[in-house]
Symmetry: C2
Subunit: 321 residues, 2 copies
């Protein structure tokens, strides 16, 4: 029993309603909040994949191929592509994504691009909320696709059950990936463009680096692909299924999802606290101390003490009224 | 009049006391807080440089050369080198930094390495606090040196008055830098290892990318260096002085430092709010909903609502007692 006509349409399987619900989530309004509260009890069916790697590694192509492979097994797929938009480049550097038409016209596949433009944080929350919507819609798999640069992009893929990191056989690529924090989050490595020079060496380099790591219950495998020719995709799919089987043992998937939920709640709390804290009076107090900062030179720690006191007092007043 | 013997020793110019104060800042205790409150009125003398770039770009060498150049003008220098320590590599990948001995034995230079190990956020705060300490100690220049990967490292260099981004003539380096957000924060670009193949092409590529950007009051120049042979350092130093002169016009430096202070206060507020929020009861409530998450499936937004209510009530109770 849906309380809202859009929700009723959504639950009856309308793609149009699905698209509208995801837009509501992107716009982050009261409607989204109400809908998510209602939907949440049904979340948990979809298996979530995160696919990331440096610009130009061939992520979109690999995601499209993977979606085709999953579709061939009869399962449905939702794709959430997060495009980073730098304030400098305006996103123009990456160019417009051109999706393979056979995927985008398949009714069993739903693709949505989300931009990072300006949204400081909150992106990973929105991507997760969108995944929840796709999940309740009945998608068997949800794929997050994002460039592996920047914390907010890492947050997006970390919301996945299985994380696939794509690299290419270029000098220093794996070292860069390591410094960017990609090595820690990868469950599976894919060396794409494996028909290029140096591919074999790059695979060995990567495996050598991985062997430095202490043995764990799951040791990330390395697969070589040429996504543009569909080569190696079956193997990646097999690795993903193996990782899923691994997570289904010993309650690991439940534990992982619990951790993810905890992270999400903690982030939401931080955002709410900020919203409540920075009311008009707090902003006025802040701008006062900033205007005086050259004369008074109050330590920032003291300014924060004052602001905290004010926050507590005004919370108390609000509760008394 | 210093309230603390260590502070008195520090204010009389003791390097030993300086080192101790910075350690106190790193350990983030009550002592550091008291000392920073007392010192803060004297902050503002030192000019702050941020030097960043990908691993292997030659940052340490360039910083050492720059420090020598600054010392030759009779000015003193403090260096805060932030080494990222990945939980995976344990920092071993970069190897230990070997500093040039002629710099590290100069009493006019103070070098301190700070590790990122595990400190989720807070690193940039600590680096800034350490810079404040060096500032009050009387250093004319403070240099932040850090690997240009990851948000916390970007936060460190962003606390500088002038940011120098170092690149090397390797394919895709400038594109990677752009995606990593380095382009937006650079006031000056240095193409180091300019004796390598492709250096001229790399300079042109970088300049071409920079020309895509709309003209601004300050347009970042590109300098070519071979830091290991001391080549080009004088030019970099000249560019830094030009950028400083630029900031000294039209109140720009004051405005920049004001913005930096605002950012710092906002971050401190977020940390304090988190600390106050996640008391024993909140953690217990969170772990209860997490334990139930598969059965109850309360939306995370509802869990946050409950936690916020509890927070307000307990704040009120604490204030009444």
């Amino acid at each position: 029993m849906a309380s809202n006509p859009l929700l009723a349409e959504f639950l009856s399987g309308s793609r149009r309603a699905l698209a509208k619900l995801i837009s509501a989530v992107e716009n982050d309004g009261a409607l989204a909040r109400t809908l998510l509260d209602e939907l949440y009890a049904k979340v948990g069916h979809a298996y979530r994949l995160g696919i990331t790697g440096p610009p130009g590694a061939g992520k979109s192509t690999l995601v499209d191929q993977l979606a085709k492979t999953i579709r061939a097994t009869g399962k449905t797929v939702g794709i959430i592509a997060v495009d980073p938009t730098s304030p400098f480049t305006g996103g123009a550097l990456l160019g417009d994504r051109v999706r393979m038409t056979d995927i985008s016209t398949d009714p069993g596949v739903f693709i949505r691009s989300m931009a990072t433009r300006g949204s400081l944080g909150g992106l990973s929350q929105k991507a997760q909320d969108a995944a929840d919507v796709l999940d309740v819609f009945g998608k068997d798999f949800v794929i997050f696709e994002t460039v592996g640069v920047g914390q907010s992009e890492l947050d997006v893929v970390e919301a996945a059950d299985t994380v696939v990191v794509i690299l290419v056989p270029e000098s220093g690529d794996s070292v860069q990936a390591m410094k960017a924090g990609l090595m820690e989050i990868a469950d599976i490595f894919v060396l794409n463009k494996a028909d290029r020079d140096g591919a074999q060496r790059a695979v060995h380099e990567l495996e050598a680096i991985l062997h430095l790591r202490p043995a764990a219950p799951w040791n990330p495998p390395v697969s070589a692909t040429v996504a543009s020719h569909g080569k190696g995709i079956e193997e990646v799919w097999k690795r993903i299924q193996e990782h899923r089987d691994f997570l289904l043992q010993d309650n690991r998937l439940v534990a992982k999802r619990k951790q993810r939920l905890e992270k999400k709640i903690r982030e939401l709390v931080s955002r709410r606290l900020k919203q409540e804290f920075w009311d008009e009076e707090a902003r006025r107090l802040l701008s006062q101390s900033l205007d005086n900062f050259q004369n008074e030179k109050l330590s920032p720690y003291r300014v924060v003490d004052e602001l905290m006191e004010k926050f507590k007092t005004s919370l108390q007043q609000r509760m008394e009224n």
